[in-house]
């Protein structure tokens, strides 16, 4: 239905604060693009600029090949789901969904048909006569979704739509949003600070930090090939172990020590070595790679897996082991990781190809 393209988009607020410092993103038709990053990284501002709720200081936003910089939110043919749902409290669920259609002068029977169909899709049919305050958080979330889908817009915009729900409901709604988006085939932009949500939903993942894009790509590509220490520590839980020979420059929390004690030859320019907790192995080393001995400080059994927190050659690190672990605090456990699973970063935190 539509592509979304951002070219050199910047946002400077009246006080001189630069929230978005030049962003280029190309979102393919029918794709779900997730903007993820810590709070204050500019992801919400970016979404609001696509929506037309914020002016664009520089650069262009195009929807379906047409620059929309000067077009108001109503004419951009987008629908947005807000974090607090922004349902009209004085209107019934039906009217909440019909409001946008009535404003566009649609005929009554068609409005009725569209609202009923959306309500069926979202299992809201029994609630059409209720007011928002009589609904649970999950139901309100569905109404907000319903209000977006009845319009049949070119683009869906989601602003942290699940962050007000409890964890269980969040997981359930995540799957529903993904299925709905795929079924409707509407190009979507989804903002979240939750990396799990980002990984599971995205066709295209955009990791943002400090008003800039750190990396764009498919979720698993980003997971496997993080472009920077920031991305490496932001995507994945628990985060990647970052072992540095000197203090890093920004964002990422790394633990500093002597890299030479790990038995790895690092590419030239490398100051930081990254290992994901799940890439450590406890069996006998069978290939070239990182070898060290972990002094266990704490054990976190999660059920399907356990996390060993400990230190090895001055470094703090977390090691994931499948199932139950027999390790006790104080134990010394030899661990190793294959070389091709390791990540190398230079002093600016950028990835160095091995």
């Amino acid at each position: 239905m539509a592509t979304v393209e951002l070219n050199g988009v910047r946002k400077v607020y009246a006080g001189g604060v630069e929230a978005v410092k030049g962003v280029d993103i190309k979102i393919a038709d029918k794709a779900l693009c997730v903007l993820v990053g810590p709070s204050g990284c500019g992801k919400s501002t970016l979404l609001r600029m696509i929506a037309g709720l914020e002016t664009i200081s520089d650069g262009t936003v195009s929807i379906d090949g047409k620059v929309v910089n000067t077009i108001g939110p109503a004419e951009r043919d987008i629908a947005m789901v807000f974090q607090n749902y922004a349902l009209y409290p004085h209107m019934k669920v039906y009217d909440n969904m019909a409001y946008g259609l009535r404003n566009r002068g649609m005929k009554k029977p068609e409005i009725d048909e569209r609202v009923k169909r959306a309500a069926e899709t979202l299992e809201l049919s029994a609630l059409l006569d209720r007011r928002p305050r009589e609904l649970s958080g999950g139901q309100r979330q569905r109404v907000a979704m319903g209000r977006a889908i009845v319009r049949n817009p070119k683009v869906f915009l989601f602003d942290e739509p699940l962050s007000n729900l409890d964890a269980k409901l969040r997981g359930q709604m995540r799957v529903e949003i993904k299925n709905l988006q795929r079924a409707l085939g509407v190009t979507s932009v989804y903002v979240t600070h939750d990396q799990l949500e980002a990984m599971t939903l995205a066709d295209q993942l955009v990791v943002m930090n400090g008003g800039l894009v750190e990396q764009i790509g498919a979720p698993l590509d980003i997971y496997e090939q993080p472009a920077s220490t920031f991305v490496a520590s932001f995507i994945g839980a628990p985060p990647m172990n970052l072992l540095g020979s000197e203090q890093g420059t920004k964002g990422a929390s790394l633990t500093v020590g002597d890299l030479s004690g790990l038995g790895v030859t690092v590419p030239p320019g490398t100051t930081t070595l990254g290992v994901r907790p799940e890439d450590f192995r406890l069996d006998a080393p069978a290939a070239e790679g990182l070898r060290t001995e972990l002094t266990v400080v704490a054990v976190e059994p999660v059920g399907a897996e356990s996390f060993l927190h400990g230190t090895a050659s001055d470094f703090r690190m977390v090691v994931r082991v499948p199932g139950r672990s027999s390790a006790q605090p104080g134990d010394r456990v030899p661990v190793w990781a294959e070389r091709f699973k390791l990540h190398f970063f230079d002093r600016n935190g950028r990835r160095v190809q091995a």
Partner: protein
Amino acid sequence: MSPRVTFPHKVLPYLLVAPQLAITGVFFYWPASQAIYQSTLREDPFGLNSAFVGLDNFRRVLSDPNYVNSIQVTAIFTVATALLAMAVALFLAVMVDKVIRGRDFYRTLMIWPYAVAPAIAGMLWLFMFNPSMGTFAYMLRSAGVYWDPLLNGNQAMLLVIVAAAWKQISYNFLFFVAGLQAIPKTLVEAAAIDGAGETKRFWTIIFPLLAPTTFFLLVINTTYAFFDTFGIIHAVTGGGPGKSTETLVYKVYNDGFVNLILGDSAAQSVILMVIVIALTAIQFRYVEKKVHYG
């Protein structure tokens, strides 16, 4: 539901509510009961004795054409004052909501008129529109309007309405500004995305959500126009010309304290009490049903 507070002492709770009860008793129930008692008495011309006459005073007051006139005057005055004061205040509040630079400055300026005493406000408007020396009266006459509120009853009415509304605008403005701020910005944004223009957004989203504030102000403004405008009317027109601005409250004062017909005056204040109680009850019973709180 908050848990019931229990006091270990039996007398303490009564002591704690005693001051409030005393004030209500002395300043409300006592005078009110006195008024009811007075309304059934008639005094002789010298005020030396009084006789019980039952509902005679009420019969006389209600059949007095001047009293019927006063009811009409009050109705017109109250509706016009409340509507004008609220409409202008809402308009100003919506405008101020859009101002970004110097918003606090505007707001402070807007609130000042509320600090002006009613009689002073009345004098102010009287001077400005006095046919012989008022600046605005002069301007009106130069513009070809035959302006003379001292002789023309309609113009006198217009003048007191504007003066009374002007004083109440600040108060209403404050509440409307607070009410507007309490409306989540995302609702307005959602409506904008839903294709509602600015006017449509105001009438379909903002105005309905402002209803609790508007309802509260409706009650307050009605009561204000009924009672608190005495000072303004007294200063500007004194009820004239020819009783054309004599509201119920003003007539109570005139008959009771100027003409010293205590029985009639007391009967009128009892009727006034009933009217206000009925009005407030109607407002809560019917108008409030259309109000959505949050």
